[in-house]
């Protein structure tokens, strides 16, 4: 039983009050008496002092007991009730409070008990609803995944940074065939959750497509998608269709994007076939025209009566000659299939004004030349490959600025005989026809880095659009201009693109968690451990001394993205060490010399592994050892691993400084990680990855949240001093 000061005070208070009251009353009473009367009173009271004391003790005892009871009943019971209710509030416990104290306090306790019961009922209800809802979401996701798996088209979903959030199996196969140099990684270095799509597609192209999607969205188009054709580094031709993924949270702004869906078609084969067909057709039509023209003319001349014998023979000669030429042509066409010819690429509808606006912006940004666009028919829809056309206009403006110091170009767009006429106008500086023709036929300087697909000439672009290009001079206004004739979009398609979306209607969308991990401008070191992407790897080696000639036998790696181990995203490769394998090590790693005899050497494996680990933080157990092997190969292979490295051994020492062993198995046991397939590089990498995932929350308990903090903490452990 706890000692309660206030209870004691309540018990003793009546006695004290009585004493004080008696003394005050007695003092006042005595002050009114004559000395003689005071003496008489004293003589009367003195012998009875014991009686008075007894009466005081009895009275104060009784009153004290009474007051203590009252205190316990009204004050202490309420205080206890408040304390117990406080405990209930702070915890999730559900228990009834004991009913005690006065009737009022009991009633209060009863009400609190009812509230507590109500609270837990509501909590159960919410939990049930959450569970129900997440089961629904899970189901929808599974359904979506199943749907995607069935698609014959590759689908890749990216957030605005171009990080892949979702892909289907078809995309994976397709990317495997796109993978160029590091054949060993088999496409896993290109596609994987969290990887950048820009490893495959030109960033400028994607940005351009996004911009036009954005423009369509803002105009309220019903199907704001864009498409483009691109060559990949491996020489394949992809048709890419882009659709936006709209932000769901901000209801006010329906045009906000938080990602995009790409549908990819490998059209390399189609394209080659189509090119060939086109070429044949072209040769048949254009090529035969001249011959037919010659034939027709000659035959018609023969109809005249006044043709003398010699001339008649000449016309017959022409006819024989042309017939022979045409027969030869037909034969050639039938047998000859090697020559290629550039043909039309798929074109998309685009509002002319949008194209000009984009062009103006780029010209100003890239060439520092002012632009004006006054005479623009805002209603014209073009059917164009906007990217190559934009590059062509940029190229023309660039040459004008570079070679003639033109300061201002004007863009005009008007309808002209069923086509669109786009004029690029400047004043002064006329051009010779030689200059125009050389500009037309020289490869355009590509301003986008690394896009070999743009080794096109202006003429290619114009032919692709089945258009025309020429230079004109207006003497009166002292203006020079390039004119481009471009196809207009057919009326029906425009209508479709211009269908307006009604008010609140939104596309059905799935709430992918990964969309949230957008735009990360922060320094790597400041990023949270939970949000980074990791490549967790392990190597098997011929021995423990990298500096003394030991070599890598096997590299295994897996990835952690968005806090989850991606087992399907793995890398495993045997390496020919180009030396003997000491017999002592074979029982440990199980790699016999004949297993690696046909394996690629480290020169081929490291670039592939480097590509796999691109853009991630490296994680290994006792990383200093593995990293030393990689570093020793730097000079030989030219492959540099300069990304941040985390070591699970050191991190374990940070979390459990009192433990003796920080070996992989000891840590796995401590953290409850099941160890399967130890001592294969991939098996150990998987174990390391699981350990690392368990270490992250333990580090957080110690206030270590970011990559930088984790590295600093690891450096301060004793084990960090070991060097290889």
């Amino acid at each position: 039983m706890k000692f309660d000061k206030r209870e004691l005070a309540a018990t003793l208070a009546p006695g004290l009050v009585l004493v004080v009251a008696a003394l005050v009353a007695g003092g006042l009473f005595a002050a009114t008496l004559e000395p003689a009367e005071r003496d008489a009173l004293t003589t009367m009271l003195e012998p009875r002092a014991a009686l008075l004391l007894l009466a005081w003790l009895l009275l104060s005892g009784a009153l004290g007991a009474l007051l203590r009871q009252a205190y316990l009943r009204w004050v202490a019971a309420s205080a206890r009730l408040a304390e117990e209710a406080g405990v209930l509030l702070a915890t999730d416990m559900q228990r009834d409070l004991a009913l005690q104290g006065s009737a009022e306090t009991r009633a209060l306790a009863e009400v609190i008990n009812q509230l507590v019961r109500q609270r837990s009922a509501m909590r159960d209800d919410v939990a049930a609803q959450v569970q129900e809802a997440s089961r629904g979401v899970e189901q929808e996701r599974n359904r979506l995944a199943a749907l995607m798996a069935e698609l014959t088209q590759s689908v890749v979903v990216c957030n605005l940074d171009g990080r892949i959030l979702l892909y289907n199996s078809r995309a994976r196969t397709q990317f495997r065939s796109l993978s160029s140099a590091p054949a060993l990684a088999g496409g896993t270095e290109l596609i994987g959750l969290g990887r950048s799509i820009y490893a495959v597609l030109d960033r400028a192209l994607v940005a351009h497509a996004l911009e036009s999607v954005q423009q369509r969205l803002q105009r309220g188009a019903a199907h704001p998608s864009a498409q483009f054709i691109t060559g990949t580094r491996a020489g394949q031709l992809l048709r890419v269709q882009m659709a936006p993924v709209r932000a769901i949270a901000s209801d006010s702004d329906a045009t906000a994007l938080n990602g995009f869906v790409l549908m990819l078609d490998n059209i390399t084969r189609d394209f080659a076939d189509e090119s060939e067909r086109d070429r044949l057709l072209h040769a048949l039509t254009e090529g035969s025209r001249a011959s037919l023209g010659n034939l027709q003319a000659a035959v018609e001349m023969l109809d005249y009566d006044d043709v003398d014998a010699a001339t008649r023979e000449r016309f017959h000669g022409v006819i024989r000659d042309e017939v022979r030429t045409m027969s030869q042509r037909i034969q050639q066409l039938a047998s000859h299939t090697t020559q290629t010819l550039k043909t039309r690429w798929p074109l998309e509808d685009m509002l002319g004004a949008d194209l000009l606006a984009a062009t103006s912006r780029r010209i100003e940004a890239q060439h520092g030349c002012r632009t004006a666009a006054d005479a623009v028919d805002a209603a014209l829809w073009l059917k164009v490959d906007s990217y190559s056309l934009l590059q062509a206009l940029l190229y023309l403006a660039g040459r004008l600025v570079e070679e003639f110091g033109v300061k201002l170009v004007q863009l005009r767009l008007a309808r002209s005989d069923g086509r669109a006429r786009l004029d690029l106008v400047w004043s002064g500086h006329t051009l010779s026809s030689e200059t125009v023709s050389s500009w037309e036929t020289e490869p355009m300087q590509s301003h986008a880095r690394g896009s070999e697909s743009l080794a096109l000439t202006l003429r290619d672009v114009i032919e692709r659009h089945d258009g025309a290009f020429w230079f004109e001079r207006e003497r009166v206004r002292h203006e020079s201009l390039f004119c481009l004739l471009l196809p207009l979009a057919p009326a029906g398609e425009q209508l479709d693109a211009a269908q307006f979306v009604h008010g609140q209607s939104r596309p059905e969308a799935y709430d992918f968690d990964l969309f949230a991990t957008s735009v990360q401008a922060r320094e790597l070191a400041d990023r949270r451990l939970t949000e980074l992407a990791y490549t967790v790897f392990d190597t098997e080696t011929t021995g423990l001394q990298p500096s003394a000639g030991d070599e890598i036998l096997q590299i295994g790696a897996t990835r952690i993205v968005a806090g989850k181990l991606r087992r399907e995203d793995c890398f495993e490769q045997l390496v020919n060490p180009q030396r003997d394998i000491p017999a002592a090590g074979i029982p440990i790693h199980g790699i016999e010399p004949e297993m690696v005899a046909d394996a690629p050497t480290i020169d081929a494996v490291l670039p592939a592994f480097h590509a796999f680990a691109h853009d991630t933080v490296l994680v290994a157990h006792n990383a200093a050892f593995d990293m030393r092997f990689l570093q020793l190969k730097q000079a030989q292979t030219g492959v540099v691993f300069d990304q941040p490295v985390l070591d699970t051994l050191l991190l374990s020492a940070v979390v459990h400084p009192q433990q003796d062993s920080h070996g992989l198995e000891a840590i796995a046991e401590r953290l409850g990680v099941t160890v399967l397939g130890r001592h294969t590089a991939l098996g150990d990498a998987m174990v390391t990855a699981e350990i690392f995932l368990k270490l992250i929350p333990l580090l957080a308990e110690r206030g270590i949240h970011t990559l930088g903090q984790a590295r600093d903490a690891a450096q301060q452990t004793y084990y960090a001093r070991i060097k290889y």
């Binding site: 025209r289 023209g293 018609e300 002209s416």
Partner: protein
């Protein structure tokens, strides 16, 4: 009255017929085998009309046409462009560059003769 017609084409098989046709119409005919020769002849002899093929070695028909139209002194020279390219964009380009008429191969010689008569005006 006899007019001077220049035939600028690199294909002898059409030149034979065009030459015969133009002479039959009573015109004086000169032949140029490529774009540069055609331009030289036009500048030197100022023919009344040029039958100008688009596809020629050296300067193309378009370039010759543009050069002629850039020279005020040659404003009177009529230009009739002939092309094996049937695309209407080429047609638009030809007329934008100042050709008086444009015909696509194969063409009827009768129509050609009519067109030439029309361009040269009443004899």
């Amino acid at each position: 009255m006899s007019k001077h017609v220049l035939i600028a084409d690199d294909e002898p098989n059409i030149v034979i017929s065009l030459e015969f046709l133009m002479k039959r119409e009573g015109h004086r005919v000169t032949v140029a085998r490529d774009g540069d020769a055609a331009l030289d002849t036009i500048r030197r002899e100022r023919p009344d009309l040029v039958l100008l093929d688009v596809m020629m070695p050296g300067k193309s028909g378009f370039e010759v046409c543009q050069a002629v139209r850039a020279d005020e002194a040659l404003a009177a020279v009529k230009i009739l462009m002939l092309s094996a390219k049937g695309r209407d964009t080429d047609l638009a380009k030809g007329s934008a560059l100042g050709a008086d008429a444009y015909m696509t191969k194969p063409f009827s010689t009768r129509e050609l003769a009519d067109k030439v008569r029309e361009l040269l005006g009443p004899a």
